[in-house]
Symmetry: C2
Subunit: 422 residues, 2 copies
């Protein structure tokens, strides 16, 4: 257990979310409350790359108001990166460099805010203390819109994407319902989630007892069956006059290839980088001759802090806070996990999960969350998802726009004479 006052390192990793900055605020605000134990919190500029290149941000230069504002600011305030450290043997130079930088800045705490790959990196960093003789506690702070980390009931970031997709699906469905008599009958919305259908499932929440919206969901877990799909859409249009389709970017055909990977070429023969929504829309048009519209939400869904889930914001903040508290209790190689104690009313708490149980394991949608026909969600799925999109946490507005925070991000003076190429 660390008793000497040491500095902390915090970094954001992988795809950002609407609430990852709320976790940053949770880490920094909590660390500031323990000034006798934790010196400064240094953030990696662009994630772990900031550590490797000794490009550290001094978060102590930010006012309490600026750190508080992170709770309503989407994306990664310090910059993120896609950079995976391999095993200690393969990437020895990187790990040695990390130790060198950490030693130079007296960093004793490593907080890594990311998804599955980052959990693996964090686990490896946690082993450095023993393997390389440098005292360091590494705590993973969970984050991923994909909701595919094990143990934790939900991943911070997911609830807000789920809310955005549920709201957007409901709104667009109202639109197509209005137009269906003479115009658009099918609306296709492409959503994220390459491996797991959690985000696509959230589209199913758009329909409920008081809003009987016909929705067909295409999950990556279910192999695309052209005929069954077209029959499902036709049935909805005949019964309701219209149909909304929510399609995961990760849907694959019977050949195991992504549907979006259609080898499209433009008139000049250039490869065209398409999404799956236009593929599905074209199929509907060609086979059923329904007028259609399609949308691809892409970054809009994971950056949509304006319609973030209040529950998600609170949980993102809580895992940041818990990470620091775990560190102060002397823990290493752990992650704060969200444990659901009740669905109705929704109650949750934070517990400690060993990182070894988290890293390199993906949590897929249970089959019992997908309806028997493969195109919808079950009541069990609805019970799981509904609390996660609960509550609104609107950002402040100025001149009609959300007043998102931009930090000063002042660099810490370098102490090493050496550069490191990443």
């Amino acid at each position: 257990m660390a008793t000497k006052k040491r500095n902390a390192f915090y970094a954001q990793s992988g795809g950002v979310t609407a609430v990852i900055n709320a976790s940053a605020a949770g880490v920094i605000e909590t660390a500031r409350r323990y000034k006798s134990r934790i010196g400064k919190v240094y953030a990696g500029r662009n994630g772990i790359i900031g550590a490797l290149t000794e490009d550290l941000i001094d978060t102590s230069r930010e006012s309490p108001a600026a750190i508080r504002a992170l709770k309503h600011t989407p994306a990664g305030a310090f910059g993120s990166c896609r950079y995976k450290l391999k095993g200690l043997d393969e990437s020895r130079a990187q790990y040695e460099r990390l130790i060198e930088v950490f030693r130079a800045h007296d960093i004793g705490y490593f907080f890594y805010n990311g998804g599955g790959d980052s959990a693996d990196t964090c686990l490896k960093v946690s082993q450095l203390s023993e393997k390389m003789g440098y005292p360091l506690q590494a705590i993973h702070v969970p984050k991923t819109v994909d909701n595919d980390l094990p143990i934790t009931d939900v991943c911070p970031g997911f609830g807000s994407v789920a809310k955005y997709i549920a709201v957007s699906t409901r709104e667009a469905s109202f639109d197509v319902a209005s137009m269906a008599k003479t115009s658009t009958k099918v609306f296709v919305l492409e959503v994220m989630g390459r491996h797991a259908g959690w985000i696509a499932a959230a589209g199913g929440l758009a329909a409920d007892k008081t809003h009987p919206i016909p929705i067909v969901i295409l999950f990556p877990e279910i192999t695309f069956d052209r005929d069954k799909f077209l029959a499902a859409v036709k049935d909805k249009v005949e019964r309701f006059g219209y149909c909304s389709v929510v399609v995961s970017e990760g849907v694959k055909g019977p050949d195991g290839k992504f549907l979006s990977d259609q080898g499209l070429r433009d008139a000049f023969g250039h490869a065209q980088l398409g999404g799956v929504a236009p593929v599905i829309a074209s199929l509907v048009k060609e086979s059923l001759n329904y007028k259609f519209h399609w949308a691809v939400a892409d970054y809009l869904q994971r950056a949509a802090r304006h319609i973030a889930s209040k529950t998600d914001v609170e949980q993102a903040c809580a895992v940041g806070k818990a990470a620091v508290e775990f560190a102060l209790k002397g823990h290493n190689a752990v992650m704060p996990a969200i444990v659901r104690t009740s669905s109705r009313p929704y109650r949750w708490k934070i517990e400690m999960a060993p990182l070894a149980d988290v890293a390199n394991r993906e949590k897929m949608m249970p089959r019992e969350f997908i309806s028997e026909d493969g195109f919808g969600i079950t009541d069990a799925c609805r019970r799981y998802l509904t609390p996660l999109i609960g509550g609104e946490a609107y950002p402040p507005y100025k001149d009609g726009l959300p007043d998102y925070a931009l930090l000063k991000n002042v660099a810490v003076k370098k102490r090493l004479a050496t550069d490191f190429k990443v």
Copy 2:
């Protein structure tokens, strides 16, 4: 001037918006306040088609709370349609049928809620009184996300789309800025506006003095210049590390063809119905080799009542109210127009515009609203747009989702023995 108590007809026409139902509420609530002059308000089910087929909805069967809830409900609560009436000579059977239906239900007021085409239809209906000897007052209620109606300073529906696009562009820009070091450097957002660049211009609001976001806008008013565009993107990426591109669906190349109309074919040679965003993204990738992401907002932008502009909601309601008041004062062939009396602070009022001056005229973006290089908005444009996205008007939520109204839409008993094929 009508003095006898007669019924009113209200219909929604063309593409729906986040606030067209607020105009419906304005019409219905105001009519209900003049019970001695206006009997019932009948809404056309699916727009003018409802009138032609005698499929009328009795709005008097809806509670005051249900009508009030329309103010926070997007899309067309009574159904809309794309159906253009031609001139009296070409479409005589349709006009005669309208008179027949109106006579059967003692309809003396015709309120038509739509854009340019609908204004033209409304004008023709206003002439029926004289030409076909049936007393009728026709008032047009302006609506269009395209913001291309003349005379009125703004079209209800536009402000909310503008707010959605400005907010989304800011949010996605924060996202790509976070990722740019090792991953996505260019984000492309496709927005509506086939003829006029008003919606694309709103993307420019995402950047301001405190949020210096690099944005390149592609307007339909400016012929696409591949080399100039690529140079602009390259310059932004080199200076800021990333770039957001907001592209109107209506952008055309030097050959006068839509960029989206690329004759895409899939691996099997089937025509692919694509948007312009993937075309632009592919171009950036191929020419500059920047990693990219792209989104197509489509219906999400015009249905996004969850982030509607408060100003827009108020104006939509006000034009509905004014339409009824104009009718009660005996006017025919007019439209309530929004007149801006001050930009800072924003002040506006409703005046009466002759429909003859509105129909068949499109208001394009003035060239002085587009920056000299053709890729941005000017201060004059900013002064025009900013008040239109002002204020938030959040809908009520239930279980994490907006609680949008679904009306009973009870049909009025038919009085005619004849059918009409549309």
